[in-house]
């Protein structure tokens, strides 16, 4: 327990340094902690650039297993800048995935199915009924902007063109609507 507390107090770079210093006798606690922190960032990057849940999950495995392997082998020159290294790996891997040259099978062949060693929970889903009530509580225009935006991830220019309003106006309505939605959903989550 004490060790867990000490690990959570370390920044990402210090954790990465600790994994490198452990070398081929893996510091599994430090590796798990780093994986737990970085997995959501890689997943979000994958969702943003691939727009695909399974692709994002593959990206998490591919990038983080490769990162841990390199840390163990001392092949990352500046462990203190682990965030930049992981981002660069994400960019390269997404390019490879788009070209179809990176396959999950190839990853498992390289690293084995060791993913069960590390845990990283996906963000929980919102209460659907609660969110529906909060959406209904918005004005018609706010609700239209929110659903047009997030059903197919459309930007303000596209939504504005569809509703005959300016993109600046869409951003203002979107920001106001999301603030109201978050407040409404948060109240629901806090309710007994």
């Amino acid at each position: 327990m004490l060790d867990d507390q000490r690990l959570s107090a370390l920044d990402d770079g210090a954790l990465a340094r600790r994994i490198t210093e452990a070398g081929r006798a893996p510091d599994s606690a430090a590796e798990s902690e780093l994986y737990r922190r970085l997995a959501p960032r890689v997943r979000l990057y994958g969702l943003r650039h691939l727009r695909d849940r399974h692709g994002a999950a593959d990206l998490v495995q591919s990038v983080l297993l490769m990162t841990l392997e390199r840390l163990r082998a001392g092949r990352i020159r500046e462990p203190e800048r682990i965030g930049s290294f992981v981002l660069g790996s994400c960019r390269m891997t997404v390019l490879e995935m788009r070209r179809g040259t990176r396959r999950r099978e190839a990853l498992l062949e390289t690293f084995g199915d060791v993913t069960a060693t590390f845990e990283s929970s996906e963000p929980g889903l919102l209460d659907g009924d609660r969110l529906a009530r909060c959406l209904e509580a918005l004005s018609e225009r706010e609700r239209s902007v929110v659903v047009l935006t997030f059903f197919a991830d459309r930007n303000a220019d596209d939504v504005g063109a569809e509703l005959s309003i300016s993109s600046g106006n869409v951003r203002v309505i979107r920001h106001r609507a999301l603030s109201r939605l978050r407040a409404c959903v948060d109240v629901g989550e806090g309710a007994p």
């Binding site: 959501p40 990057y45 965030g83 930049s84 919102l126 969110l131 004005s139 569809e162 999301l178 959903v185």
Partner: protein, 185 residues
Amino acid sequence: MIGTHPMPLATLIGYWLGELSAADEAALEEHFFGCEECTTQLEGVVSLAAGVREAVSDGSIGMFVSTAFVDAMKAAGLRLREYRLEPGGSVNCTIGADDDAVVSRIMAPLAGVERLDIERISSAGDVQSRVTDVPFDANSGEVVMIPPPRELKAMSAFTLELRLIAVHESQERDVGRYTFNHAPS
């Protein structure tokens, strides 16, 4: 904006929707990969987006949308039943058990209209409710309405009259009336 910590919510939403310049996007990602707080914030945006998709797909909400949105619903595999009404028109309509939504395309002369309200009129001619500032497409002269599908499926037969009203400052002008004769399928 990009250099601030934590990232403003509006910036993270802009990133998620691909609205940032390439330079701003790269700077945001550099920051994001070292920022647990920003990760939590962006996860909140992504969860909300997933929740909105779910609410649309499972028919929990009604809404006014666009033709492009209807196309996106079809592309997502949703089964839609569509009706089109001209001013003064009426339609016999329903929603089937297999339908995910009913789309009502209400045609109207909307050129130059700044604000559009819709009144719901009872069979006795009384105004039951009024919705203000309804989104519309002035170019195509169309209001695309999707009533809440789950609610609609549970309803017995009814007649609904809608009155479209163009509003300019304190003046109002009738744009058209439309009658829906709904029967359960």
